[in-house]
Symmetry: C2
Subunit: 253 residues, 2 copies
């Protein structure tokens, strides 16, 4: 059987990676996972520069994540890992994981990526030379991350508006995907965020958010199922959905 | 002569440390400098935990910074340095610097810090045991960072409003100081930010910004003096000034 290439990135958390509770934020967790994937690509000869020379770049479409207890804390030495789970001509499914200082696996995330032609701003076939160093066979069926629940915002939903800040924009000229998490979480009451821990998330990206856009972050009524609470989220601009998410929560004992 | 203890922190920039131009953002530069100062305190036995046990924490009052050309780029290996320039019973002046991968000093920043009693939320004398490991003598006069220009916003100023996001809050329960830079820069036109390079900044912090506050970021008319442009900034909440800043800019040739 082929050996799947894994990449492990040791990292020491700093205060700016953490939220107000002093634990790694979901936003920075996703940022670090993407960094690990870039480093793996780079280690195999197809870093950002080489990929851009081929006229393209990676775009995230979906995340599905599962958290196992507390996320690591400020100054903790963690390991972020990644590998390609499967791919075909247009899509890559990557697995990510995060081990805390004690070696416990505290997060597992699966991400669906596509390849974008940077000139045409359209999906393009993944250049074969990028995948070759992984020495993995392509597959027809992909183990896609689970999508957020299908929901339609109505008058029971609440919303908040945010202006995309200059600092939200990354070198691709749009709001970095991980920044959406700030808008998603910010709609939840502060008391709720204090008393509950995220246990799972599904995030779907549909359209980019351009500089200075006025973003509406919508929150549906919380749904409970035993111990588990689910929050539904939609990010809109001018009534168009740019992203949506389902978050699972558990009350902190 | 006494030997001033310096601390040097090697760091590799990641994409999330950089702004849309792919260079280190001012916000992250300040975050990294504070991280270096925390690491120096920690290396001398008074890290965050030990300092909190003494009932207090460091608070930044002023920054004065000078930039020498381009800031380093994504994936560049940099060194962030710091040392205590002078201190007395209530204040510490710290020097920070940033060397790029080629060893060129691209930023020099001076910061004025005070010590806060975390229970009374008031300034307190700096505990002697924190300063002892630095083996530096206290001084009466302090080489304080230069303050921003004294300005009063009027009808010629423009403004933008921002809601402090959940993600802006740090473990001290208020908006992290470096995050103010996002509100300050965001008032400037995108075209201006693209065509100009920051060469110097003076930043003064007066009041903290609490979660969910509605922040007004005010921008005065640009003033030119030969090649040099100066922008004046005030951050207000409910008409009260929480911070102000003067930024010097040069047109990129």
């Amino acid at each position: 059987m082929e050996k799947i290439k894994e990449y492990r990135m040791p990292y020491q958390l700093a205060y700016f990676d953490c939220d107000y509770t002093g634990h790694l934020s979901i936003e920075m967790m996703l940022m670090l996972m993407i960094l690990a994937s870039e480093k793996q690509n780079e280690s195999l000869g197809f870093g950002l520069d080489e990929t851009q020379k081929l006229g393209g770049g990676w775009v995230i479409l979906d995340y599905e994540g599962h958290l196992n207890g507390e996320l690591p804390k400020d100054r903790e030495q963690i390991t972020v890992g990644t590998r390609i789970k499967a791919y075909n001509r247009f899509f890559v499914v990557r697995e990510f994981w995060l081990d805390n200082a004690a070696g416990k696996r505290v997060a597992e995330v699966s991400g669906l990526f596509t390849f974008m032609d940077l000139q045409k701003r359209k999906m393009a076939p993944i250049p074969a030379e990028i995948m070759a160093p992984y020495q993995q066979a392509a597959t027809i069926r992909l183990p896609r991350p689970q999508s957020p629940d299908k929901v339609t915002p109505d008058e029971k939903w609440s919303s908040k508006q945010y202006r995309a800040r200059y600092a939200d924009i990354d070198s691709n000229g749009h709001v970095n995907n991980a920044r959406y998490v700030e808008w998603l979480l910010d709609t939840l009451p502060a008391g709720f965020l204090k008393d509950h821990r995220l246990t799972a998330f599904r995030l779907n990206y549909r359209r980019e958010v351009r500089p200075r856009s006025l973003v509406t972050s919508l929150l549906g009524p919380l749904m409970s199922n035993g111990d588990q609470l689910t929050s539904q989220h939609v990010i809109q601009i001018d009534g168009k959905t740019h992203a949506c998410a389902s978050f699972e929560w558990q009350k902190i004992q």
